[in-house]
């Protein structure tokens, strides 16, 4: 059992949890993830590690309530526990001195980009961060991101905070202004990561994305998370989750993410009915 040490609402649908997992905290690196299961009827769901504290022995996850399991997870309070918490999984992000790095986080993707931006900053890179959300209420980690960035941009779809528009608008401006950019790292919804990849491709800028396909075990034994990268099929859980954005087949990833749309609905409805009866 893994205890919830801290729980915070970052927005109405985005929640933060700090979970006691000292062995994982000891080993975790930027870019890695965990797989958790709430209880013995639960499914295994992947969550990127948004932060880790080796001294306190905790792992921080940030998740958006989108379906049955995340909704149920959000009902848990400080002091309560989840049954299974496996990690750290995946390859750590490739952190080294590139020069000038642009870190882009969209929506709940701001959480996983944070430890990467921090690590890039600590490795001596100049870090330009761009974070985006639908509106002001959905924004979080502003201070955290600001503290590890040399330049920091905020974008909202409706202009309620920062620039109005998309994260790619700022990236576009940067590219057009002729700034020398050595690396772009983008995490967020697939359409956003695809748009970033399309922008940087023509400029020949090395671009990483962190992919979020459906996973089951997270240890390389099932291939449920396979993605097409270049000419080959890769397992995101062991070969990734970071990949060269210019090699990824984003359309296929989008299709595969939709595989259980109907069942996800059914599961949520079933749970709501149980809750009403219960």
């Amino acid at each position: 059992m893994y205890r919830i040490i801290e729980r915070k609402d970052l927005s109405s649908t985005i929640k933060l949890m700090r979970i006691a997992a000292p062995e994982i905290a000891k080993k975790a690196q930027a870019g890695q993830f965990v797989i958790l299961r709430i209880h013995d009827h639960g499914e295994r769901i992947p969550m990127t590690i948004a932060d880790f504290d080796r001294a306190q022995g905790t792992i921080t996850i940030v998740f958006q309530v989108v379906g049955k399991s995340t909704e149920e997870l959000a009902t848990l309070k400080e002091g309560e526990s989840i049954l299974n918490f496996l990690g750290p999984l995946g390859q750590p992000s490739e952190i080294k001195k590139y020069g000038k790095a642009v870190c882009i986080g969209g929506g709940v993707g701001v959480a996983p980009i944070y430890p990467i931006a921090r690590a890039l900053h600590e490795a001596g890179n100049q870090v330009i961060s761009i974070i985006g959300a639908r509106n002001e209420k959905m924004l979080f980690y502003e201070e955290e991101m600001n503290s590890v960035s040399d330049h920091f941009h905020i974008v909202t779809d409706d202009g309620s905070r920062g620039n109005q528009g998309l994260v790619t608008d700022i990236l576009c401006d940067l590219l057009e202004s002729g700034e020398q950019i050595d690396l772009v790292f983008a995490i967020g919804p697939v359409p956003m990561m695809r748009a970033v990849a399309e922008l940087t491709r023509g400029h020949g800028i090395k671009t990483f994305v962190s992919l979020n396909p459906i996973m089951v075990d997270g240890t390389g034994m099932c291939g449920g998370c396979r993605v097409s990268v270049g000419e080959t099929s890769k397992f995101a859980c062991v070969d990734g989750p970071d990949f060269d954005a210019h090699q990824v087949d984003f359309d296929q990833l989008l299709e595969r993410q939709k595989m259980y749309c109907q069942e996800e609905q059914d599961s949520k409805e079933h749970w709501h009915q149980c809750k009403c009866r219960g």
């Binding site: 496996l86 999984l89 099932c222 296929q252 939709k258 599961s267």
Partner: protein, 454 residues
């Protein structure tokens, strides 16, 4: 032996074979000639005293018989169900030369089930040795090593990456062949021997083998199996509706997707399902697909039935249940529509000369491609060793497809104090061969820790 009727059992996940009654077991035991030379025991990879336990069944001392089996075999309820006895103990039975061998597997299962019903006793354990062994992986090999070393007084910690122990016994072999309550019972027995089990612990990520050795473990056993699914690398393999058998079976068995939405993990099976491959994993997948509601299930295998690696009994059960065998053909591509599987293009084969494995080599017939409509495709064409341990332990030598190089007699790898056994050494094989390897490795680790091995 009594079984559930095919038309009933395809609608449930309950065990198909119902086991012997007391009278049936005693009657079967009476057939044993109690041969002096015990050819059957020499055919058993873990060397169970077969005539010995069968004699006790004749005397109706069923619990005594179970104890006798457990002297050599830590998981008899499992072995009695899933061992290919026709290729092992029963193959060497003296009665088998002229008639039918004694049904050793069914008798083993019977006594183990009787013992479980009566409550399993923990055998007396020796004084602790003060030495610790780490066992990586809790499949058949790891469980055997852990149990044998615990019985010798070593402190054993078993590390398992998944949330439940058992390896292929829990995620691979379906409920209707091996009920999970039985696996749990057998594992509880091993925990009762004092083995400390740590689930959610992926060695290679949370700790490396070197860190385990530095952490005070005097020896390490690696039994991480062959859990990396092979794909065919044909067009369309990443379409929705295409599963590896590992994913299909893990969702079904470990995550209990057959009870969705009571359990949260979904699975998707259409009306027409194809399983590619001819081994036991393919049979398990096909039979699960039927139970998950597929109307037609096809096994697609490129050789003929005679060359199928699955046990004859499993093929028979599958066919009884309505699985169709499409032999001498293999897929060339998977055709999609809106991102989903729509059809399978296959090519026909004929059998040529025998290859190095002794089986006749399948040769594709040019221009014989044909198309089958399909909603679900399960790839059951084998597994390779998971590379995580070898990638993170630089002085472990690996061979073909990433198997660990280890002495077949002792399991000793190229790294001192580190032993390995089961599928990680042999490539995908059987439960009992993994247990045999575990047994030999446990003995070798005991000698090593006592300083007998130079």
């Amino acid at each position: 032996m009594r079984t559930q009727e095919p038309n009933v059992r395809i609608h449930n996940f309950d065990e198909v074979a119902l086991g012997y009654t007391e009278e049936q077991a005693v009657a079967e035991a009476e057939r044993c000639l109690n041969c002096k030379k015990k050819p059957c025991s020499s055919g058993c990879p873990v060397g169970v005293d077969i005539p010995g336990f069968i004699e006790l069944i004749k005397e109706r001392d069923f619990l005594g018989a179970a104890k006798k089996v457990k002297e050599s075999n830590n998981l008899p309820a499992i072995c009695g169900r899933v061992c290919p006895q026709e290729a092992q103990c029963e193959k060497y039975c003296a009665l088998g030369k002229k008639g039918e061998s004694v049904a050793i597997g069914r008798l083993e299962r019977f006594v183990a089930d009787r013992e479980r019903e009566c409550g399993v006793e923990t055998p007396p354990l020796p004084e602790p040795q003060g030495k610790k062994v780490a066992v990586v992986g809790s499949g058949p090999a790891g469980l055997t090593v852990a149990a044998d070393l615990a019985k010798l007084g070593y402190g054993v910690t078993m590390f398992e990456a998944l949330h439940d122990p058992g390896g292929v016994l829990i995620y691979g072999i379906p409920q209707f062949r091996l009920p999970k309550e039985i696996v749990k019972g057998e594992i509880d027995y091993i925990k009762g021997l004092g083995v400390d089990l740590k689930v959610d612990s992926l060695i290679g990520r949370i700790q490396s083998v070197d860190e385990l050795l530095a952490d005070g473990y005097n020896a390490v056993f690696i039994g991480t199996g062959a859990g990396l699914p092979n794909f065919m690398n044909i067009p369309g393999e990443n379409l929705n509706g295409v599963y590896s058998a590992n994913e299909f079976l893990t969702r079904t068995n470990l995550m209990k997707a057959y009870q969705f939405p009571e359990y949260d993990t979904p699975i998707k099976v259409g009306k027409l399902a194809a399983v590619i491959g001819g081994g036991n994993v393919a049979m398990d997948s096909a039979r699960c697909a039927l139970r998950l509601g597929a109307e037609e299930v096809y096994i697609i295998y490129r050789r003929s039935e005679k060359e199928m690696p699955a046990r004859a009994e499993e093929i028979e059960h599958a066919v009884e249940e309505g699985v169709k065998l499409n032999l001498l053909c293999a897929p060339t591509r998977i055709i999609g529509e809106d991102g989903w599987v729509k059809a399978l293009e296959c090519i026909k084969f004929e059998l040529g000369e025998a290859d190095e494995s002794g089986r006749r080599r399948p040769v594709p017939i040019e221009g014989s491609e044909f198309i089958m409509e399909m909603d679900t495709v399960v790839m059951a064409i084998g597994n390779s060793p998971n590379p995580l341990i070898s990638q993170t332990t630089p002085d472990l030598e690996t061979g073909w497809r990433g198997i660990l190089v280890a002495d077949p007699e002792t399991g000793l790898t190229t790294k001192p104090g580190v032993y390995a056994g089961g599928d990680i050494v042999t490539g995908a094989a059987t439960v009992i061969s993994a247990m045999g390897a575990g047994k030999r490795a446990a003995a070798a680790i005991d000698r090593y820790l006592k300083g007998d091995d130079s």
